[in-house]
């Protein structure tokens, strides 16, 4: 018996030693090879290049950037662009995805099947194809600036981009911003009071809707009362191009359209399977007591559906962030795009790829942690 145990333990120790040895040996060999190759090709090492002047033109940038800024700053601009696109993409894809999911379970045959067609088409074609189509056909197919589409409100859509009026905040706007903050706080307090009131007296006050009306209405009222301290700088056609206003470049728009429509299909399927996971018998039971459909949806279906929806959607969110890297194919300067250009210039692939991995892993960690927190709260209430 003693010998048997010893043999097993010895085998395991041996195995661990062999594997560890193998890893160390492989790592060391790779390291030596890499050093040799870098020397042979005259490629520099280390992160010194980050402070070298970039000379890269970057068309879309949230931060102020000129080609005389450093590589490091250029990369940062790329990272900010990635975050920007990911954040907006997650918001928009969630909103559309929820609508699609609800449409899928609708009793209306047309609506439910239209949503099904949407989902089945978008889930079975590559995202890159969608991006190429959006960029090369849809947006490039828009007319020249001189013949721009004008959907109204001073916006101009053409093949150079979407030109929109830019809001200019004048002095009085501080009051509006303050009022907005105030009504936000008020709405939250109102909601909490309404919950307590409902508990005490049984009377239900739609605090959600009231809060929304307040949040939109009060600042609007303030804008009107203070003599509209908000003007818009409209884009104006000068020669062949527009001046003024703000512009959404086709690269950004195409990336957003592709990412949002694609991810919304997957989120829609999650929402659908979440709603359908709720046993129909419970809805029967609630109906048989006379509970109104709105309450059934909010208090019975949704809490249970979210348990299925939240974990699955976490995957979709991290996928969206990773898919934003496809920006390199249509020229939007995200992190991969900028990094790829830098590699093209100085061949320091290892450092750049390392930086990519670090940033993506961080973003994923943040999203996973956030969603796990939400998930824990959603799962908490049973067991």
């Amino acid at each position: 018996m003693a010998t048997y145990f010893d043999k097993k333990q010895v085998t395991r120790l041996l195995l661990q030693a062999v594997v560890t040895g193998g890893i160390i040996y492989t790592a060391y060999t790779l390291f030596l090879n890499t050093q040799a190759n870098l020397a042979a090709r005259n490629i520099a090492s280390g992160f010194g290049f980050l402070s070298v002047e970039a000379g890269l033109p970057i068309s879309n940038s949230l931060l102020p950037y000129t080609p005389s800024d450093s590589y490091g700053y250029a990369f940062l601009v790329g990272v900010i662009n990635t975050l920007h696109v990911s954040f907006l993409g997650i918001l928009a894809a969630s909103a559309i995805g929820v609508l699609i999911g609800i449409a899928r379970v609708s009793r209306n045959w047309l609506i439910s099947n239209l949503a099904a067609v949407y989902v089945e088409i978008l889930r079975n074609i590559p995202l890159l194809l969608l991006l190429f189509f959006a960029y090369g056909v849809v947006l490039a197919g828009l007319p020249h600036p001189r013949a721009s589409l004008q959907p109204g409100w001073g916006a101009y859509l053409n093949n150079r981009g979407f030109y929109l009026p830019r809001p200019i905040f004048q002095d009085g706007f501080g009051w509006v911003a303050a009022m907005f903050g105030l009504t936000l706080v008020m709405a939250i307090l109102l909601w909490r009071w309404a919950v307590g009131y409902h508990r005490r007296t049984g009377r239900y006050i739609p605090a959600g809707w009231l809060g929304c009306i307040l949040i939109i209405g009060m600042p609007a009222l303030t804008v009107w009362l203070t003599g509209t301290p908000l003007t818009w700088e409209k884009p104006v056609l000068r020669g062949f191009n527009f001046q003024g206003g703000m512009v959404l470049r086709p690269e950004f728009s195409a990336l957003m359209i592709g990412l949002v429509l694609y991810t919304a299909a997957f989120i829609g399927e999650n929402v659908r399977s979440g709603i359908q996971s709720v046993d129909a018998g419970q809805i029967d039971a609630a109906r048989s007591f006379g509970v109104r459909p709105g309450i059934i949806m909010r208090r019975i279906v949704l809490p249970q559906a979210l348990r299925v929806i939240v974990p699955a959607t976490t995957n979709d969110y991290t996928s969206l962030v990773k898919n934003s890297s496809l920006a390199v194919a249509i020229g939007y300067p995200d992190m991969v795009s900028v990094g790829g250009t830098i590699i093209g210039q100085n061949d320091q692939a290892i450092e750049i790829i390392g930086m990519w991995m670090a940033v993506y892993l961080c973003i994923n960690l943040i999203i996973s942690t956030l969603m796990n927190w939400i998930n824990a709260r959603v799962q908490l209430t049973e067991r």
Binding site: H198, R199, R200, T201, G202, R203, Y204, D279, G281, Q282, D284, A285, A286, R287, S288, F289, G290, V291, R292, I295, R299, I300, P303, Q304, T381, E382, R383
Partner: protein, 250 residues
């Protein structure tokens, strides 16, 4: 055979009710009068339309022709009419249908809060009172999945009691239970029968029918074949179908 004339005491009245699922004629010309406080057991082979019938009575299913009146209110498609009767009519399901994400107490208090607009504290104390009536008050903070089938069904009954339902519909309440738990649920139902509650129960438990029922209705093929007191129906069935069915289950 259709029953007695309707009078002021009639709480449920079905006249000439027909229902189809697509092309399948599932309820054929149902005529039924139920008086206040009457206890009715509906039995019959599976597929005879028993569940469909009681689901029509509280509006979970729509009938196509004929009229259903509950406490004088005619059931139509309009939500107002349905809402008027649903607060009075409660249903106990074969699969209990408790809300798994709420505690037992919250389950029972849910409808009073959201339908009767009762304040939370009052609803919860009422819920505890009715949980005590079915002897399950010590489980009030547990979740349905932590209870046995028999306990869950008793909670479902407490749910109805808390809404002061004077008409209770039971759709095979013990069919999904293990044998040792059937008795505890039937005991609760027998205790209810002692109060002035109108009960319509679809079940195979003929012992319960004998003890409690004022009338037993035998359904087959979507129509009412026979309706009589339990004594008469079990011992002197009028039709061959009834006799065949009874011979299979008794």
């Amino acid at each position: 055979m259709p029953d007695t004339r309707a009078d002021a005491d009639t709480v449920i009245e079905l006249t000439g009710v027909n229902k189809w699922y697509g092309n399948f004629h599932v309820l054929k010309q149902i005529d039924l009068m139920v008086k206040r406080g009457e206890r009715i057991v509906i039995c019959g082979p599976s597929g005879s339309g028993k569940s469909t019938l009681i689901r029509c009575i509280n509006g979970l299913e729509r009938h196509q022709t004929g009229a259903i009146r509950v406490q004088g209110v005619k059931l139509t498609k309009r939500a107002k009419d349905l809402h008027a009767i649903r607060g009075q009519v409660g249903m106990v399901f074969q699969n209990f249908n408790l809300y798994p994400h709420m505690t037992i107490l919250e389950n029972v208090a849910f409808a009073p809060i959201w339908v009767n607009k009762m304040p939370l504290v009052k609803a919860q104390s009422q819920a505890m009172h009715h949980l005590a009536r079915v002897q399950i008050q010590d489980q009030a903070d547990k979740y349905p999945s932590q209870l046995s089938g028999g306990q869950q069904q008793r909670v479902a009954i407490a749910r109805l009691l808390c809404m002061n339902c004077r008409i209770m519909l039971f759709d095979e309440p013990t069919s999904a239970l293990d044998p040792e738990m059937i008795k505890e649920v039937l005991d609760v139902m027998v205790a209810l029968a002692a109060e002035d509650i109108t009960m319509i129960c679809v079940t195979h438990e003929m012992g319960f029918a004998r003890t409690v029922a004022d009338r037993v209705i035998f359904m087959d093929g979507g129509e009412i074949v026979e309706s009589n007191t339990p004594q008469e129906l079990f011992e002197h069935p009028r039709y061959d179908r009834t006799q065949l069915f009874l011979s299979q289950i008794l």
